[in-house]
């Protein structure tokens, strides 16, 4: 604990900012591109000027004349302030290490800097905002900065990205350096990773699931020398959950867009919702398509079993089935078809195990009347939407299920009779 006082005597010019005794050299230690000017406010209201020279999420290295030991509040910006306490054993001259005791963000309180605050202070995001802002006229720059910062503050992914834990591994033992001390990592897995990283002499990464199956960790092993290394662990559980949530929201947005442009004729369903649709009514026929010739067999079968009231719609039904089955041959290795009869409709179901349809292309395909070769969905989809009364679609990386309903009641003549 005497390093700093010795250093002050022997090498007074040595910089504290890069010193590993001053602030531990974990990957989170960063210097802002330029020192950040701040004020430290003591409990009695007395103010001291200061500059942030170096920081991690739990400590600040400050240049200040504020007395140490001592506890101060630092107002970084609106809705963000810190309580810090000077560490008397670390630093020399006007340079002191301060522990972050509390972080106040609006109503919230935390014990360390959040990821976005950290990035803001360490410059990467700040730089970016600075660069972007320079592209706009001077009088708008402040406004743009304000907007971008506000967006960053509300970024949910950033919030979900809770910082992890940094540990040092030496001679088979782990020592907690910084970050979430309560992050419980499975010992065999992290030991294995560290041994591997040290043995190979290179950074190793592994994503593991906790023993109880509830949390997902992203582990990075970094070798330092032949016996020791650093372990950086991130808890990905909340990020992954956030991503799922965003996918659901995206799906919901497309579902509405697609329903709107098709007047409700095309409905995107989740796989759970699709299950009910697939089992309604009674089955009339089914088949498999592996090659082009199978498609003609399928549509001929469909036409042969249609009740007489559907005869005016036979062409559109045969065409829709053909288009769907052609897609299964083009975009997957073929598929299955089923024809069912429900109370009010003939239901044609087509399923494949391909890579799925890009949902973002659907509103376009639904709106487009004339076809272009650029449109990967082709006009097949447009035709199906024209001829079918209702189309249900579930699509994803595990395949596509398309359901085409043809109503008996809507049997107005599709084509005018030959004159």
């Amino acid at each position: 604990m005497q390093e700093c006082s010795q250093c002050a005597r022997k090498t007074p010019d040595r910089s504290c900012v890069d010193c590993d005794y001053f602030m531990s050299p974990g990957p989170l230690r960063r210097k802002p591109p330029v020192p950040i000017g701040i004020s430290l406010v003591a409990a009695d209201g007395k103010r001291y000027a200061g500059r942030i020279l170096v920081l991690n999420t739990m400590e600040l290295g400050l240049e200040t004349r504020a007395p140490v030991p001592g506890q101060y509040r630092i107002y970084l910006k609106q809705h963000l302030s810190l309580d810090v306490a000077g560490v008397p054993t670390k630093g020399k001259g006007n340079i002191h290490l301060f522990d972050i005791i509390a972080v106040y963000r609006g109503e919230e309180t935390a014990s360390r800097l959040g990821n976005e605050e950290y990035r803001l202070l360490t410059g990467s995001t700040g730089d970016f905002i600075e660069q972007v802002s320079q592209l706009v006229p001077a009088h708008l720059q402040d406004l743009v900065k304000e907007r971008l910062l506000a967006e960053l503050e509300s970024s949910e992914i950033f919030n979900a990205m809770r910082l992890g834990k940094v540990m040092r591994y030496e001679k088979g033992r782990f020592r907690h350096l910084t970050g979430q001390a309560d992050l419980e990592l499975p010992l065999p897995a992290i030991e294995n990773l560290m041994r591997q990283a040290i043995h190979r002499g290179t950074h190793c990464r592994e994503v593991i699931v906790s023993d109880d199956g509830k949390r997902i960790f992203d582990l990075h092993g970094i070798p330092l020398d032949s016996r020791s290394g650093g372990l950086l662990a991130f808890d990905l559980t909340e990020i992954i959950e956030k991503e799922r949530q965003m996918r659901r929201q995206e799906m919901e947005a497309y579902r509405e867009a697609v329903a709107a442009v098709t007047n409700g004729r095309l409905q995107l369903l989740t796989s759970e919702e699709m299950v009910a649709v697939l089992s309604q009514g009674k089955e009339l026929a089914r088949g498999v398509v592996n090659k082009a010739a199978d498609i003609a067999l399928a549509r001929n079968k469909l036409c042969s079993l249609l009740p007489a009231v559907f005869s005016a719609r036979a062409y559109g039904m045969a065409l829709s089935l053909t288009e769907a089955l052609t897609n299964t041959l083009k975009h997957a290795t073929g598929g299955e078809w089923v024809v069912r009869q429900t109370d009010e409709a003939i239901r044609v179901i087509i399923q494949d195990q391909g890579q799925g349809i890009k949902i973002k292309d659907l509103p376009k395909a639904a709106l487009m009347r004339h076809y272009s070769t650029q449109n990967s969905l082709g006009c097949g989809f447009t035709l199906m939407l024209y001829y079918a009364d209702k189309v249900y679609l579930t699509t994803g990386s595990r395949g596509t299920t398309l359901v085409l309903d043809f109503h008996q009641s809507a049997s107005e003549e599709i084509c005018s009779p030959a004159s």
Binding site: A318, T326, L383
Partner: protein
């Protein structure tokens, strides 16, 4: 299945199709519709065709593109009403030629 018989006229050839035009049978048509030296026009008679899908339509567009590159043209004649409707839906009605009044023999659909 698709069968093609050929009638020759002053303008060039007329391909009389019988059957269905889709992914399976398109190659048969493409082979028969190759541009030949000295021909100005190709007629494709759909009187015996009961079914065309988007793959078949795309094939017809491609045949027309190849002919027009050589200064020729393609006319599609005698579609049944259902097929004419599909041409209209995908914006290909300009390929259809109603001036040719050969007998219309619709398909079974």
């Amino acid at each position: 299945m698709l069968a093609i018989s050929i009638t020759k006229g002053d303008y060039g050839r007329c391909l009389n199709l019988k059957g269905e035009l889709d992914m399976e049978t398109l190659a048969t048509l493409e082979q028969a519709a190759e541009v030949q030296e000295g021909e100005r026009q190709l007629k494709i008679n759909l009187a015996g065709v009961s079914f065309i899908d988007s793959t078949g339509l795309r094939g017809l567009l491609e045949i027309q593109r190849r002919w027009s590159m050589k200064g020729g043209e393609v006319r599609v004649i005698n579609p049944c009403p259902e097929i004419a409707e599909v041409f209209r839906l995908v914006g290909m009605e300009e390929l259809l030629d109603y001036s040719d009044q050969s007998k219309v023999t619709g398909g079974e659909y």
